[in-house]
């Protein structure tokens, strides 16, 4: 058996600097979960359809199952573990809690990042725009109505707030 080639990667995840050596085929989703132990990023379909593994890569949402960890070398990644400010929930997380926008919670990390990017680009979206914005995230509890309610309710706070 031949030794598999490995590659060094250095990146910041939730403000913490990490240096690891990975196989090129390691997906960013598996790197976050298995190598760094950040299991808040969920893995559903592993082919870019369900949106559960959505994280921020250099400030933009990406499917972490469609990015190799080596491609994140030098990047800044935010996962769900980095969204709250210490013990204080992000306003969008507060709105999800307030409006019962999660049931099993599997899709929630991805939903939050998709909604966050939507509200940054468009601070006052219509309901239709909210539905399109989260269209790449599947909730199999089918709790979409409450998610739309939460995003709508959070929009004034995001438009004002930091993050």
């Amino acid at each position: 058996m031949t030794t598999r080639e490995t590659f060094p990667v250095q990146l910041r995840v939730n403000g913490v600097e990490y240096a690891r050596v990975v196989e090129p085929r390691l997906l960013l989703s598996d790197f976050l979960r298995d190598t760094l132990g950040l299991t808040g990023t969920h893995v559903g379909c592993e082919h870019g359809v369900c949106g559960a593994c959505t994280v921020m890569l250099n400030g933009e949402t990406v499917r972490s199952c469609l990015v190799f960890a080596v491609q994140a070398d030098g990047a800044e990644v935010t996962t769900i573990e980095g969204l709250a400010d210490g013990g204080k929930l992000h306003p969008l997380q507060d709105a999800f809690s307030e409006h019962h926008a999660l049931q099993c919670g599997f899709c929630t990390p991805g939903m939050l990042f998709s909604a966050l990017e939507l509200l940054r680009d468009n601070p006052t979206p219509t309901d239709r725009e909210i539905r399109e914005g989260i269209g790449g995230n599947i909730c199999r509890c089918t709790g979409y109505q409450h998610i739309v309610d939460a995003v709508r309710a959070a929009s004034p706070h995001i438009a004002r707030g930091p993050k």
Partner: protein, 291 residues
Amino acid sequence: MKPAAFKYIRAQSLEETLSLLADKGGEAKILAGGQSLVPMMNFRVAQPGTLIDIDPVKELDYLRVENSWLPVGALTRQRTLEKSPVVKEQCPLIAQAVKWIGHPQTRNRGTVGGSLVHGDPTAELPLVATLLDAQILIQKKGKSRTVGPADFFEDLMTTRIAEDEVLTQVSFPLAPPRSGCGFRELSIRHGDFAIVAAAVQLTLGEDGRFTDARVAVSGGGPKAVRIHKAERALIGQKGNGKVFQEAAACVPDAVHPPADQKASEAYRREMAKVFVRRALDDAWAMMRVQQ
């Protein structure tokens, strides 16, 4: 659901990319945005021996206006096209079409060149390139060539590009004066693969008659096609519902759609007609606002 092992090379420049492709003789594939390639690798439908990651090749990430063209670098993200005020103003059809590519999360990564080379039968950018006769620049070490859509898109997910070549730029013609465009897509949910999509561009002469009309459909076969019969039915005419209806009526006989779990062949034919008609109405509404 995990990719097979591969050798990873990160290219820092176009020159290095071309040298690597020349050296690797067919075993290497280009990795750009990875939004089609990585899912195929996760399924192990694709198992390239070597990937050349061109993400650092920033010289291929640009869009600009040159004379009456919009040259776009292959590494330009779909999201960049979507957000560009220049694209919205000068090539409104592209701005309309990119919104239908996947989701924001995939458009943030997915590249213009990747979408064209992948050649998905219902992909939006190949449809727009086909409609507008975009000029595609392909390079290999020491050589470059420019091709039109007819010589590039060959068949289902098949494009005419050799293993030692890379698509580096696509140039779209700017929307002519007194023109309007429309892009309509039928899918089960926004962001899903299209069942059919229609793109049109109409140009009006001083006498109020169409001097140019372009109509193209995807989902009607293995690749996007121009509907020349519909175009001939429009050129020389004045815009009205009857003319648009007659043009759209040429569509069903000009397409040869597949049947699958999402739609029958007959349904796709009918919807191709309906969506061309709607796109023509959109283009006409756009022109009337301008006048």
